[in-house]
């Protein structure tokens, strides 16, 4: 009884101690988005204040935020879709035929500093007249999304019993057919994980969009910097923009969370 009481008090306390450092920056950001500049800088910090919509008004009315949102969506969805199209068969092949060297090469592409790709890309895309186009951005973001897809999915596919596929082939299916009709449906949790993670990475990418996009195709992470000018930082605007950017990503993660965790652990244990 005594121990259980200690547990009942101690456990939530421990949870709080762990959660507060993680949640506090978000809370701070969220509150600041509704504060005036004077309230944001005030010391001691204000936890009670009269909320203002000025910052969100700036984000959505004075800035072209909806355009940036649309751009980020197009680039994210486009690059993830192509990455799935190319990455799923690749991952399957890596898993089934143990092409370890190939998978390492894909990983190296991801590990190389992104900036080393930028110059060649800039040359190629500007010669092709593709600057400020979705094509250039989607192609560059595939570099972010594809390795994530391949790496998560190859370990996932390895966990799918080979017998499933063999029995399909006994029934007369080709290997391709077995992949599409048997393996893919079984791998939905993994695919959802890979999709969510690669979408978020693309959503948050700053460097590629900075150089390859211009006014028309500017993406959200770049747009946050619109609130930082020479010798002035509009913290309220930055915070409101950050809230606006994070919301879709958070919703996406919450919806698919259970898959993400499952997909990650599947890969981790069996990979």
């Amino acid at each position: 009884m005594k121990q259980s009481l200690r547990f009942r008090i101690g456990f939530p306390l421990l949870v709080l101690i762990i959660i507060i450092p993680m949640i506090f920056p978000f809370l701070w950001m969220f509150m600041s988005a509704f504060k005036t500049q004077v309230d944001i800088i005030s010391w001691p910090p204000k936890f009670l204040f009269s909320p203002t919509m000025v910052n969100f008004n700036k984000v959505f009315n004075e800035q072209n935020f909806l355009l940036y949102l649309k751009n980020s969506m197009i680039v994210g969805v486009g690059s993830v879709a192509i990455s799935l199209l190319l990455g799923l068969p690749a991952a399957y092949s890596i898993a089934r035929f143990h092409q370890k060297r190939l998978s390492v090469m894909i990983l190296i592409a991801r590990l190389m500093p992104g900036i080393s790709f930028l110059m060649p890309w800039y040359i190629v895309f500007s010669r092709l007249g593709l600057m400020d186009s979705y094509t250039a951005l989607i192609l560059s973001h595939i570099l972010i999304a594809l390795p994530v897809v391949v790496w998560i999915m190859s370990s996932y596919f390895e966990s799918v019993p080979l017998e499933m596929e063999e029995s399909a082939m006994v029934d007369g299916a080709t290997m391709q057919r077995a992949f599409v009709s048997i393996i893919l449906p079984l791998s939905v949790p993994g695919i959802v994980t890979a999709t969510t993670l690669s979408f978020i990475f693309s959503w948050n990418n700053f460097m590629f969009s900075q150089v390859l996009s211009m006014e028309k195709t500017r993406t959200l992470p770049i747009a946050v910097y619109n609130f930082m000018s020479y010798a002035e930082v509009d913290w309220g605007g930055v915070m409101a923009a950050a809230v606006a950017i994070m919301t879709p990503a958070i919703i996406l993660t919450m919806v698919f969370q259970k898959y993400v965790v499952k997909g990650l652990t599947m890969g981790a244990v069996k990979g």
Binding site: Q37, I41, I123, Q210, E215, Y230
Partner: protein
């Protein structure tokens, strides 16, 4: 065998991609691409660009970026040699030398520089050509709290001895007496005026001399003031950290660039009444009275511009006398002499700014940092000396050795870039 085939396939595909790019049709209407900074002047230009387009028939594609992004984007584009930028805002002291050396600016031989202070044009000059039109200036000032000075019965300090005494007297009740940038590399520009006022320099004839006894004395003084009377954690503070401290009334004196004046008195951003904020010139030092006055922004034209005539037309319009006056009326201090003489401007601009500008224009020094290609690395090196001084309140015995070591490192950087010594 298979691998060879794959390689061949990749090679042929990419060849096809390049081939397509070569056959691009030229466009009919004149179009230029302009990169602006997130700066009040950039904002002003944006609102005026439609007028320019209507007047000239030139289509202007512009985008504006935060300054470090702007530098990165320009550098990436120019380095690849296939940039489509025609006109851009640029920071002469930060990137000017490098861009000039790489031939990225077009020479502006037809531009009329008569209305500009000659030392502001010289910064962007190499040989007989000038490459940068000076746009915006800033100089060092001291912001102070009139009410706190009145309460303490103090006068605004006019020399460093009075400055230290005032800092001491005003440090009480949770208010720090004195603040200035302490965060290493960021502090280099603000320390510069102190070094000049002690009779020192960062670079003398392109040789690093910030380990001279004069410069060391200045670094010790700066460190003593900040270490003793500065806000807590000042050694990691830049302007974006110090401004809120001043705006919330926790700082009595703050020396930094003139560009922050508007934000310090804007009642939507600050918690102290505008009437309590004063702006004064930086106090004199024992051996000098030369605050920095620099061209913080200029405008340049790309040497790769495919439309040099249209680009020049835009450049002349964007840097015209009329535009300079418009900007001055919005409290943006411009480099053009005529703009400062304009009667409307003098009537409307804050007198503190006009006075301190006049003083700095007459006595000031046109650099606030070591003027060299590797300025970023040099600032990091000098920054270490500044932080050591602040952390020891200016008493560090290691300081001369540390400064000598960093000066040598800066000289090595100068040598590596072929900029050491000479004029």
């Amino acid at each position: 065998m298979k691998r060879v085939l794959v390689m061949l396939l990749i090679a042929s595909l990419s060849f096809a991609l390049f081939a397509q790019g070569a056959s691009e049709a030229p466009k009919a209407q004149q179009e230029i691409r302009v990169l602006l900074a997130n700066h009040p002047y950039g904002e002003l230009l944006k609102t005026k660009i439609p007028e320019f387009e209507a007047q000239s028939g030139i289509k202007v594609n512009f985008e504006s970026l935060q300054e470090s992004q702007l530098t990165q984007k320009l550098t990436t584009e120019f380095a690849t040699g296939s940039s489509t930028v025609d006109v851009f805002m640029t920071r002469p002291l930060q990137e000017g030398l490098l861009f000039i050396k790489n031939g990225w600016y077009a020479p502006l031989d037809t531009y009329d520089f008569a209305d500009y202070p000659s030392n502001s044009v010289d910064i962007g000059r190499k040989g007989n050509s000038a490459f940068i039109v000076p746009l915006i200036t800033e100089w060092q000032v001291m912001y102070y709290r009139k009410d706190l000075f009145a309460q303490a019965g103090l006068k605004v300090p006019t020399n460093f001895t009075e400055l230290e005494a005032a800092a001491k007297a005003l440090t009480k009740d949770g208010v720090a007496g004195f603040g200035s940038r302490g965060k290493g590399a960021a502090a280099v520009t603000q320390l510069s005026s102190y070094i000049y006022n002690y009779g020192g320099l960062y670079l003398d004839k392109n040789v690093a001399v910030f380990d001279s006894p004069e410069a060391l004395e200045a670094i010790r003084f700066y460190g003593r003031l900040l270490g003793t009377y500065g806000p807590q954690g000042v050694a990691s503070m830049s302007w974006e950290n110090l401004m809120p401290v001043f705006q919330t009334g926790k700082l009595a004196m703050w020396t930094d660039a003139s560009v922050f004046y508007d934000q310090v008195v804007d009642q939507t951003k600050t918690a102290i009444p505008a009437a309590n904020v004063g702006v004064a010139q930086l106090p004199k030092g024992p051996k000098g009275d030369s605050p920095f006055i620099v061209v913080s922004w200029g405008m340049g034209m790309s040497s790769k511009s495919k439309n040099p005539d249209a680009a020049m037309q835009f450049l002349s319009w964007a840097t015209s006398k009329e535009m300079a006056v418009e900007a001055m009326l919005k409290n943006i201090p411009m480099a053009r002499n005529s703009a400062w003489a304009n009667a409307d401007v003098r009537a409307k601009m804050h007198p503190g700014l006009i006075e301190t500008q006049a003083h700095a224009a007459k006595n000031g020094y046109p650099y606030d940092r070591p003027f060299m290609s590797a300025v970023g690395q040099a600032r990091d090196l000098i920054g270490e000396v500044i932080i050591e001084s602040i952390n020891t309140k200016g008493t560090s015995t290691k300081l001369p050795a540390l400064a000598a070591e960093k000066a040598k490192a800066v000289n090595d950087l100068l040598k590596a870039d072929g900029e050491y010594g000479g004029n």
